[in-house]
Symmetry: C2
Subunit: 699 residues, 2 copies
């Protein structure tokens, strides 16, 4: 008969997302610090271990947990790391440690002068004998013999001799190795709602708290987005995959490592949009890559999501490009947009996957009174939803088979959250190195829900955070709230859809400020091509006197930015071929420098080490990042129009500096070195001269 | 094929104890306010309802949920109450409301001047026709006909006519009643770790968040504890059950409604303790009722936990006493102490339930170097633990069968937490009106864990909270932290084991202060007999000049009270017959008044309505309680030695008073009335004259 496993209480386990319903995320090698309340009845000494393993493995790794501090004896902590990517689980095992309890009891009686303690000594001998048997059963012959010898010694030992055994560190270590855990308790967290619907979901198999471990690239990367048809910058015709290498090398030269392409699939012709989002389209206009599918084009897979647009080349051309990019130590990210043009083969082959009007015709997308006649939304809850969900997951698997592992997902918040849980867990079962970026600029709960169900990265509100207060509050939430356990920011200062007012009205100095913030606030970021060229002409071609009231302007940028301007590009290349001189210098040199600094400084390759520091001047933002002795203090002038100066608080403790110690700060952007001292030091930053400092501190 | 149920996300549900692992507790009639984040993809209008039912019932009650506020559209709230005691469950159901979505879309297009909106009108007609079918299926013939008529009208309606239908409140109401919920999502929270081990656990059957509903008496009661053998107060001999009525009437006269008896079972003779905890016992000494079991006495059930001590009478006498107490509108609470004397029949019949020395003898309780030779601890994890746990649960069921429904459990924190989960859920399956009080004065996590697994009431640290800050912080935690959802305080100013220093050194005024705090801070409380007589002689007969430094003394009482005195009674009746003059007046009149006030004022019958108010003087504590128009402001002078005065903050808003309005406060203790005005008012309280005010506010 099984003994009761209920010997200890293990609760309030952290981290645990929604009580264990969703996985915690980690990168290979990144520590997972686990804490829990662990206690049991009575006076026994408690022991507990943190255990972890790859899902499906039998053997656990384990490490003893320690009390968090002397004042909180019921709170235990330990940490572990994961060497492989993919699904893992962890748990806590706790038990009343009979040997330690015996030691305490024996010592108390011995010190109180009780003798001969015969019964107590024999009890100890029995525990040691039990350990000897466990050692024998595990095949540890030498240990078994050693323990058996101790047990025999204790059978006839005086109290004084037994007391020596009670204090033997060697014996204690062996008694830990062969501890009697027959009465241990294990923490479990199993939910029943997943298995039936998501047979491919790893979570369904996990009885214990679940950890999804991503490869290193998921934690640190720099993305460069460009439209393949714009690779050469011709205003009158598009480039092809075979023309893209020059642009790839250009990005590599700046230090980027992911090349992200907007959709590369056939583009619909029905209701095709013209330049600047015109509802009519002139002959020869290339269309919007987000209106996907054209069964009238001759494509091996019917002109749908498994094809590339013939005007870009063939699937083989694409695979060639992927290979070339990989050869350069870079990766490709593809866009996954479930936007079907009226010409998409799905519309023809699976009309039941779409919404219908009473007359039987298919409904196009609307947000009344706006109409999007070039896109048909899909019905994720139609009768054949399983088939449809499976087909869409198959699209991603297809591109994985072509060598792609990164997917930027367009507007995931307009599809069911659980669809993504299904799709991502299915894809990652076959391709655990697949990375998904959620492009959801929407309410924060939805953004978090998408991250919980599996998205590796998330777009953020960073794009609209320009004041020191706005940046501090938002990044403290991202780095230090519970959501940091599962949501990883991927920072974008611009996108093909978003040209923020700060860039529109701040000019090149504003681009420099955003470049430094983007590359140093978080380890994963990206820019949309043209950012490095300081392209900033908005669709309204407006002007705004930002310099006249910088604080007021920044506050509007963070809040009611629609008062300032429509944040869209004029002549957006979403709708047209775009002429562009790729040879302008722009701020390419700055990116070359920033990406180099990121690669050389471990502190910039982590996120949750971000701590804001006090600056007397609220137009200067200061933050520190420390990792394994790499100590950085970053200071940015948010005012792109005027010089600003401030006293900056230096976190001496986290830099390992004494109160009155002098220390050297080296600006990694310029190589300049300064002598600083104490907690408060002076900086001055002038737009045009320098947008910020990236100080490396050496004691 | 089943349609996808994953149409909405429902998360962050509150209240939920440990993610749903343990039940939330409520009293019949007490509101349960449920909140959750609910949202879905896209632009559909969302609807959601709170649903609840008794466990095992098929039909749900339901009520629509509302957005918490205009700024938090993803947070929804509703509340419900439960009329029956026992296990209940609740959940949230959410769906995309196609009718409301249609209304919004139709209105937007109509207002934008689009005509003729034929397709849109037909779509609306189809929704109404669908509702007509649902009404028909449910047998609502009139509604079905009405809806079918509307659908036919809409088939041929102009846009203007359709717009009238879109704005019809009647139609909206019917479309809510017959809403299409085929694509709704329900919140579930199922854990797998309970069923196998606890077949009797209600929780195992619950797929949804679980609520345990207690009878009204669990939420409001006043306990009076006395030893039956002390009923008459003879110093040389014990009283019997048949002698107890006088004491019961005495408690009833003071307004108590629960009579709590320490253990009434046979007392062991082996190693019996003598007066003042002496390890030797003189002939004729009665022994400690907590050393339970004497198989040498002639008892119908062997002299164990199912027997009463013959010196108190027979089981029939006990049942007679229970009957008499019930006739007076009062109840009996019994003590459940799993302390076996060496003479307990278990020791003879089930030696395997105890711990053994290497020589085979049974181990007595120890906390080295202290020894408790008169008690054998039980081994809850022995080979036959299931049988043992079941036997102990059977003891409680036995006393339930004798008419007892309240059990005060001695030292539950020295037994496994999960044992109590098993025992309480098993007993409450048969006796849902059973109440369990946890006597655990230990670390707060263990106290909370015991409350989570089922204890109805918990002893608290109130006994050692005497400063205003200490009382405020602790009661804010009890009333307003997450633990308030499952842990109900039962306040005791003294127990047979605890005579707090404040009472030892504060004399009668201190008893008055504690009496007012005890009866008004929480709706459930108790006193151990002698409190009403101001008995305060400690085992050390020490004196302490508390008056010389009141703040310092109170701080020691809250903290390092062992510096002051051993907090035990001299000549404790745990160990001896106790002579006592029950006719001293003491503060019986004060209790008569306080218990009357409690019964007349609904605000004192609730707990989570407790809010502390500012007092300029930190020796005066002020707090308000409001319930259904019953508005109280309680002000207590914590200084038992000197008069104190203070300005007191009056929470005008919660009392429904205007800023400059005069209002009357009536002291319910004295009947005096005062005219007050505004937020700050003056009080003066002098020990001996009055310890506090219980003001009732009338606008």
């Amino acid at each position: 008969m099984k003994l009761s496993p209920y010997t200890a209480v293990i609760e309030n386990v952290r981290p645990l997302v929604d009580g264990g319903r969703y996985p915690v995320k980690r990168i290979t090698g990144e520590p997972l610090v686990v804490e829990a309340d662990v206690f049991k009845e009575g006076h026994d000494v408690l022991s507990c271990v943190l255990k972890w393993r790859k899902l499906g493995a039998k053997a656990w790794h384990e490490i003893p947990m320690d009390c968090v501090d002397a004042w909180n004896k019921d709170r235990w902590r330990a940490s572990c790391t994961f060497s492989a990517e993919g699904p893992h689980e962890f748990t806590i095992e706790a038990w009343g440690n009979i040997w330690k309890s015996w030691q305490h009891e024996f010592e108390a009686k011995f010190n109180a002068g009780e003798r001969p303690l015969k019964s107590e000594t024999l009890e100890g001998a029995a525990f040691v004998r039990n350990a000897a048997e466990l050692a024998k059963a595990r095949g540890a012959k030498a240990d078994a013999e050693r323990l058996a010898w101790v047990a025999r010694e204790m059978d006839t030992a005086t109290a004084e001799r037994a007391n020596e055994f009670a204090h033997s560190a060697d014996l204690s270590a062996m008694m830990w190795t062969y501890a009697d855990r027959s009465l241990s308790t294990e923490f479990v967290s199993t939910f029943e709602d997943t298995p039936a619907l998501f047979p491919a979901n790893h979570r369904a198999a996990a009885r214990y708290p679940f950890v999804w471990v991503d490869r290193a690239g998921a934690g640190f990367s720099a993305w460069y987005e460009f439209f393949p048809r714009s690779a050469e910058g011709h205003a009158d015709r598009g480039s092809k995959f075979r023309d893209c290498l020059q642009r790839v090398d250009y990005a590599k030269d700046m230090g980027f490592d992911v090349i992200y392409f907007p959709p590369i699939h056939p583009i619909g012709v029905t209701a095709r949009k013209g330049r600047n989002n015109s509802v009519t389209c002139q002959p020869g206009e290339p269309g919007v890559p987000y209106a996907i599918g054209n069964r009238h084009q001759k494509c091996p897979n019917g002109g749908a999501h498994r094809d590339v647009a013939p005007e870009l080349g063939t699937l083989e051309d694409f695979r060639w490009l992927v290979g070339e990019i990989n050869k350069r130590g870079m990766e490709v990210a593809l866009d996954f947009a479930v936007n079907c043009s009226p010409d998409h083969p799905y519309v023809h082959d699976h009309p039941e996957w779409f919404y219908h009007r009473p007359d039987g015709s298919i409904k196009y997308a609307e947000n009344p009174p706006k109409k999007y006649q070039d896109v048909y939304p899909m019905n994720y809850h139609c009768e054949t939803w399983r088939e449809m969900w499976s087909e869409l997951a198959g699209v991603i698997e297809f591109w994985c088979e072509q060598g792609v592992r990164i997917f930027r997902v367009d507007n995931p918040h307009t599809k069911p959250v659980h669809f993504w849980e299904y799709l991502i867990s299915r894809v990652q079962t076959r391709f655990p190195d697949a990375i998904f970026l959620s492009e959801a600029f929407t309410r924060s709960k939805m953004m978090r829900a998408l991250a919980k169900v599996g998205f590796t990265h998330s777009y953020t509100y960073f794009t609209w955070r320009n004041t020191a207060q706005g940046l501090r509050e938002y990044f403290n939430e991202l780095a230090h709230s519970e959501s940091a356990e599962y949501m990883r920011p991927n920072l974008w200062p611009n996108t093909p859809d978003i040209l923020p007012s700060y860039l529109q009205f701040g000019g090149r100095p504003a681009f420099e400020v955003r470049a430094i913030l983007t590359t140093t606030l978080a380890p994963v970021y990206g820019i949309y091509s043209g950012f490095e060229l300081c392209e900033n002409e908005g669709i309204e071609r407006k002007h705004w006197d930002a310099a006249g009231d910088v604080r007021g302007f920044l506050a509007l940028c963070d809040g009611d930015y629609k008062q300032l301007a429509r944040e869209e590009y004029i002549d957006s290349e979403k709708y047209q071929f775009k002429g562009r001189d790729w040879n302008q210098p722009g701020i390419r040199a700055l990116f070359r420098k920033l990406n180099h600094i990121r690669k050389e400084n471990l502190a910039l390759q982590q996120f949750r080490n971000l701590y804001f520091q006090h600056s007397d001047n609220d137009l200067i933002l200061a933050y520190s990042k420390v990792a394994d002795g790499n100590r950085l203090l970053i200071i940015v002038n948010l005012d792109a129009w005027h010089p600003q100066e401030s006293m900056i608080h230096v976190p001496l403790e986290s830099f390992g500096l004494g109160e009155h110690q002098a220390f050297e700060v080296e600006d990694l952007l310029t190589g300049e070195k300064f002598q600083w001292k104490g907690r408060r030091n002076y900086v001055r930053l002038a737009p045009g001269e320098r947008a910020g400092h990236i100080f490396r501190i050496r004691p």
